[in-house]
């Protein structure tokens, strides 16, 4: 029988690496996809995911079990992704971006998932997802966060509100504005 998140956290506090591995494998998809939606870059998302789980390990002793583990992970994912993105933007002012463009990185991430589909269908999905991720990356951070959590992660506005520690009404307003902005961006792209 699989152990509860809470039990795994208690074992992680005692430096139990197998419990840690179990928790990582349980939530790596959730964390990675949240980071991918927020950063719009496969490699940045991977870095952010690593930061999230490392933070979980370091902060496990101070976790008070006042919220569910996934809620906690979503919160850290949002913080780490935005931090990384901010640092990346400043960093780019100093140096030009590495040889691999973010387009190629995105292709890598999407390829890993749709390798089993027919080539044409796979290519179409890849194109659409690329377009969507790029458009999402153009949203303001506030709108991006609610859209990723609500649309891509499929959370209810109440759940998003809990993660962001705000009211459901505020989240719903942001989702509405985010959808409008996203549609505008998409329309300008598919001319």
């Amino acid at each position: 029988m699989s152990k509860s998140d809470e039990e795994l956290i208690r074992r992680i506090v005692n430096q139990d690496h197998s419990a840690y591995e179990e928790l990582v494998s349980r939530y790596e998809t959730l964390v990675y996809n949240t980071c991918l939606g927020l950063t719009g870059d496969a490699v940045l998302a991977q870095d952010a995911a690593q930061e999230v789980f490392f933070q979980l390990y370091r902060s496990a002793p101070s976790f008070r079990f006042e919220c569910r583990v996934p809620t906690w992970l979503y919160r850290i994912s949002v913080n780490k992704s935005l931090n990384l993105l901010r640092r990346q933007r400043i960093y780019r002012l100093f140096r030009s971006l590495s040889a691999v463009s973010s387009d190629e990185r995105m292709d890598d991430a999407i390829d890993s998932k749709i390798g089993t589909k027919q080539p044409e269908e796979a290519w179409e999905i890849k194109e659409k997802q690329n377009l969507l991720l790029k458009a999402i990356a153009d949203l303001t951070p506030e709108q991006r966060i609610v859209l990723v959590l609500h649309k891509l992660e499929g959370l209810t506005s109440q759940e998003v509100a809990e993660i962001l520690d705000t009211s459901k009404a505020v989240v719903e307003g942001r989702i509405h504005r985010a959808k409008r902005s996203l549609q505008k961006i998409l329309l300008s792209q598919i001319k």
Binding site: Q15, H17, Y20, E21, V24, S25, E28, T29, Y32, N33, L36, A42, V43, A45, Q46, A49, Q50, F53, F54, Y57, R58, R87, I90, Y91, F94, R95, D108, A109, I110, S112, K113, I114, I125, K128, Q129, L131, L132, K151, L152, G154, K179, R180, Q183, L186, L187, I190, K191
Partner: protein, 169 residues
């Protein structure tokens, strides 16, 4: 873009999301019959929006766990080693360096300000006397001024080369 198409575009999102009343919906669909451009846009937007609803989750790139595990193992060891240390020198060193630089700058400025005019470099003294018009006077000083930003830029460049990558902001 024709005026009619611009009007249609305003309602395209509500149409795609299925939030239009039957009357308006019919107006849009009538227009699509006649206008290939709007029809294509509506179709593409609809497909993209649908993709967002059935968003496929991706797996992380390989190597997440091995890298994490190594980091955590290092952290366990370091965490034990750093227990007796109570002061983070890095945190103290930076403000101290900033204060020192500020003091140095102020001292230097004070020294420059109180430097007697008769001891100014001969070139400067000559130039201020020889400058005929105000424009020529300003131009001669601008020559020196333009040199400064270039030097500051090379300073930034040198710092960016010296700082290790993980220290870059």
């Amino acid at each position: 873009m024709p005026k009619k198409c611009r009007k249609i575009k305003k309602h395209l999102f509500s149409y795609v999301e299925g939030n239009l009343g039957p009357g308006r919906r019919a107006v849009l669909e009538n227009h699509f019959q006649a206008c290939l451009r709007c029809r294509t846009q509506a179709q593409e937007l609809h497909q993209l929006w649908k993709e967002l609803d059935i968003w496929e989750k991706k797996s992380p790139l390989p190597g997440l766990w091995p890298a994490l595990h190594q980091r955590v193992k290092d952290f366990d060891i370091k965490g034990l080693e750093s227990l007796p240390k109570s002061v983070d020198f890095n945190r103290l060193l930076r403000p101290a360096a900033a204060v020192l630089l500020l003091l140095l700058g102020a001292t230097f400025g004070y020294f420059l300000g109180s430097y007697p005019q008769e001891k100014w470099p001969a070139a400067y003294a000559e130039r201020s006397q020889a400058a005929v018009s105000e424009e020529a006077y300003i131009a001669s000083y601008l020559e020196d001024f333009w040199d400064v930003p270039q030097r500051s830029l090379s300073g930034f460049y040198i710092i960016s080369q010296i700082l290790p990558e993980d220290r870059m902001p």
